[in-house]
Amino acid sequence: MENNSRRGFMGKAFGAVAAVGAVGSLVAMKKTWDPLPSVKAAGFTTLDMTTYQEGVMVTEKWRGKPIFVLKKSAEVMENEKGNPEAEARNIKIGNDNFMVAIGLCTHLGCIPAFRPDENDFLCACHGGMFDASGLVKKVPPPRGFDIPPFKIDGTNLILGEVGPEWQSMKDNGVTL
């Protein structure tokens, strides 16, 4: 009897040691699977906004993701008048208005194609559509294109750094 409870105690004690080890190794496994510091650090891209032409959609690259940059024409701006959702997404640099967005469909992440005649984006994967400000025109995408964190620096746009304009977009729920 006494023997049994001794064995029981030993079993529990060593069980506890093993459990601590198991939890520790789970932490190590989780962290090993995390993105590497070098991946996280290589996160900034600077765009010179004077180089873009009206109505021509250019795809840039930031953190491996495509970034859509579209300098809006007067016609597009006219269409957007009175649409607060679209206006809230404008990025103003000097006198120009830009749409800058992560070019991945918010549904499952395909890259929608720009259609210059329609001034919109069509996602071939499941038929989603976005307008020239990046708002959803046709589901399944649950929300408009996400806007990458940016900071305006004269006529440059630094992607990956949080500026006041982006912060207020985020606070107002314009982007995630």
Partner: protein, 405 residues
């Protein structure tokens, strides 16, 4: 035991140490198989053979494949396909087997459903089988990533995005799974590991469990008849081979299995040598490009039905129904409330209709999943997806009203 005598032969020497006589009886010569089963019961053996083909061809591919984003594509499409002598053969065997194995799994599954082989004491066979199906799916998906072509990259993008959970927007989780913001080196490396080590290990373990689950309740038969295996095997051993309802697995039943496997292999190697291209998507012959999506993204044919369930709905509902479709088959033994274990066609109209409707509906979903999501195809897909869900929800009700036959 632990009492050894001087061995009289090599066999005796081994017998004292490994009990090979006993093992042979348990696994083969006294493993009893009912007589009234048809060729559909040979699919298990067909799957074993296909799995071995995958393993062997995979080992040969592994020797030249390079798991880096810069070299993966060329190591497959140039080195293995052109430089390595017979490299093309291993790749075609691997590709064709990866596709055909799912065809056979589906036949195996629907055979089980048709004959009620998941019922009464055979639940664990069914559940372990469905776990195998899920693991095979993960194995197929991770393997699909490795050539690092356009479809690989974008399938990886789309499927990992599913883990964001729609409106939950768990981007952190997605980035953790990928080890990067987009599929890149970390992603390729870990999927390579999963494909060649962890998942195959799990598959081998699950195959063991699947077989163990079969050993005690024994295999079902064409009439769902309850056989007293002890009594019938005794009859057989006493010499009444004709009167007994069972036969030995080896070598009696094996001969039939091997015949079916033989026919299967002829068909299989016909595909490998003359029609391998069906298993290789043309889009995947472009190297991965993170800045260009192919016009249509679709998975391999065996995932199309569940992909189509995801497609017609908004993202949250789509995800929920997709998840539902992935797991619901596991619960089949518990959703089927009827006492009958017999072929679907003898279980009364309700289940008969349920079975054939489920089978045709999944074929329709598969076809719609391949077609572009436009116009009438979207509508058919939507209806079929709803029918699929409704059928599963209705199953407990229609089966509990079934009369005992």
């Amino acid at each position: 035991m632990a009492h050894f005598t001087k061995a009289t032969s090599v066999k005796d020497w081994l017998n004292q140490r490994l009990a090979i006589d006993k093992v042979e009886k348990v696994m083969a010569s006294e493993y009893w198989i009912p007589k009234n089963i048809n060729f559909l019961w040979a699919m298990g053996m067909v799957l074993v053979v296909t799995f071995v083909l995958l393993l062997v061809s995979g080992i040969f591919l592994l020797m030249y494949y390079v798991p880096t984003v810069d070299e993966a594509f060329y190591s497959v499409n140039y080195t293995i396909m052109r430089e390595v002598d017979f490299g093309w053969l291993w790749r075609h065997i691997h590709g064709v087997a990866a596709s055909v194995v799912f065809l056979v799994i589906y036949i195996h599954m629907f055979t089980g459903i048709y004959y009620g082989s998941y019922k009464k004491g055979r639940e664990m066979i069914w559940i372990s089988g469905m776990l195998l199906f899920v693991t095979f799916s993960a194995e197929a998906f991770s393997g699909y990533m490795l050539p690092w072509g356009q479809m690989s990259y974008w399938a990886g993008m789309v499927i990992t995005n599913l883990f964001a959970g729609g409106s939950l927007h768990a981007d952190g989780l997605v980035e953790w799974i990928r080890g990067d913001y987009v599929p890149a080196q970390a992603f390729l490396g870990r999927f390579f590991m999963l494909h060649v080590l962890l998942l195959p290990l799990a598959i081998v373990g699950l195959i063991g469990l699947h077989f163990a689950a079969l050993r005690i309740p024994h295999v079902n038969n064409q009439d769902g008849e309850e056989i007293d295996f002890d009594a019938e095997s005794k009859k057989y051993l006493d010499g009444d081979k004709a009167g007994s309802k069972v036969i030995r697995f080896a070598n009696d039943f094996m001969s039939k299995d091997i015949m079916v496997v033989g026919i299967f292999l002829i068909f299989f190697f016909y595909l490998v040598f003359w029609n391998y291209s069906f298993a290789l998507d043309p889009v995947n012959f472009d190297p991965a490009d993170g800045l260009k999506t192919p016009a249509h993204i679709y998975p391999e044919w065996y995932f199309l039905w569940s992909y189509e369930i995801l497609r017609p709905f908004n993202i949250d509902l789509g995800l929920i129904l997709f998840g539902f479709a992935q797991v619901i088959f596991v619960f089949l033994p518990f959703l089927d409330r009827s006492p009958n274990t017999c072929p679907a066609n003898r279980r009364g109209t309700m289940f008969k209709v349920w079975f054939w409707l489920m089978l045709s509906n999944m074929i329709i979903l598969t076809a719609m999943g391949k077609l572009p999501p436009e116009g009438v195809f979207s509508t058919i897909g939507l209806v079929a997806a709803i029918v699929f869900v409704v059928q599963w929800l209705a199953l407990p009700f229609i089966t509990s009203r079934e009369k005992k036959v």
